[in-house]
């Protein structure tokens, strides 16, 4: 559905880039991805983009950021700054969702189920850290489909 939300991709990107190597080095599992396999975000229909974005922001706010504390205060600060950006964007997307402008089709509902299944296939900390390390997969997809 139609849903235009402004968010600072550059700020989120910069925050993630600063901690990417640190976060990804904490994820030893090469053979499993939360977001990109078996279904790729890049195959999402344009009509479902708003809903997928809203659901994934909800996923990160509710299930990822809170489980990603590290012993490194710099990394923690960057994570909370990204989390705050996600929180405010999710709120805006939520308004679209309430106005029925952001509904999920069947295919996307299936994809979201798969993402949650990938997440629940790992223990919480590993799943959250892996999801955080895949933030660029989400950002790449969002930028490409703007």
């Amino acid at each position: 559905g139609a849903c235009r939300v402004s968010m600072s991709m550059t700020e989120i990107r910069a925050g993630f880039t600063a901690i990417k190597a640190n976060i990804q080095s904490r994820d030893p599992i090469r053979t499993l991805s939360i977001l990109s396999h078996p279904h790729s975000l890049h195959k999402v229909k344009s009509s479902d983009r708003c809903c997928i974005t809203y659901q994934l922001f909800t996923f990160y706010v509710d299930k990822v950021f809170k489980h990603c504390r590290t012993e490194d205060s710099f990394v923690n600060r960057k994570i909370s700054s990204i989390a705050n950006s996600f929180l405010s964007t999710r709120r805006k997307l939520g308004q679209c969702h309430e106005q029925n402008n952001c509904m999920c089709g069947e295919e996307s509902t299936e994809k979201l189920k798969q993402i949650l299944a990938n997440y629940e296939g790992l223990n919480v900390t590993s799943a959250a850290m892996k999801s955080l390390g895949e933030l660029d997969i989400l950002l790449d997809w969002m930028e490409k489909s703007r």
Binding site: T10, R13, R30, S33, S36, D136, D140, E143
Partner: protein, 203 residues
């Protein structure tokens, strides 16, 4: 067959070096080993469960391996790994960090063509192409890969050393009100706002 017991020092600094998505794996020889070291290379698509050997980089003695073909889908991310062999001994597999072709590549400067009248300069900019397997393959401009791509253009009056900067999204620029009979130097850079990528300035 079980892995050999590997006592050889490991290859060092295993990393991707990428320009316009020509993605080449590079590494340094294990410490303290002279000539005679050979290497094997494998790679994996992140999230897919298998490592794939690169036959063209099996038992090589150079310290690079072109994986552009294997990593050309920039919607995926990758790992690569190198193992060293010397006189029957071997090292461990040494891996890269996770490689994202979209954000981890460097971009060449744009091509700049300039024409002028006595009081203005017309500049046409062309973004570089993404690496491709063969000349016959269809070209993909990096403009298609990075829709938000912009150009930063600098115009220098060589007599007064006065310089103007322009930031444009389309690829043409006309600079009017110039001084006749004066030499100007035009240089341009590519800027991708997000993910942040900047080329050098063109010569």
């Amino acid at each position: 067959s079980g892995e050999l017991y590997c006592s050889l020092p490991n290859p060092r600094n295993v990393r991707f070096e990428s320009v316009n998505m020509k993605n080449v794996l590079h590494w340094s020889a294990p410490e303290g080993t002279g000539d005679g070291v050979f290497y094997k290379v494998k790679y994996a698509v992140y999230g897919v469960g298998k490592w794939i050997r690169k036959p063209e980089c099996k038992n090589i003695n150079r310290t690079w391996c072109d994986l552009s073909n294997e990593t050309s889908d920039y919607e995926e991310q990758y790992y690569a790994s190198v193992k060293a062999f010397l006189n029957g001994a071997c090292s461990d597999w040494m891996e890269t960090t996770r490689f994202n072709p979209l954000t981890d590549t460097k971009i060449d400067p744009p091509m700049v063509s300039v024409s002028s009248t006595d009081r203005s300069i017309s500049i046409v900019l062309t973004a570089p192409e993404k690496w491709k397997r063969s000349p016959e393959e269809e070209s993909i401009s990096l403009l298609q890969v990075y829709p938000g791509l912009q150009y930063n253009v600098s115009v220098l009056n060589k007599k007064t050393k006065k310089r103007w900067f322009f930031s444009i999204s389309n690829n043409t620029l006309v600079v009017p009100w110039l001084e006749p009979g004066t030499a100007y130097c035009v240089s341009a850079q590519i800027h991708v706002p997000t993910p942040v990528l900047d080329s050098g300035y063109s010569k």
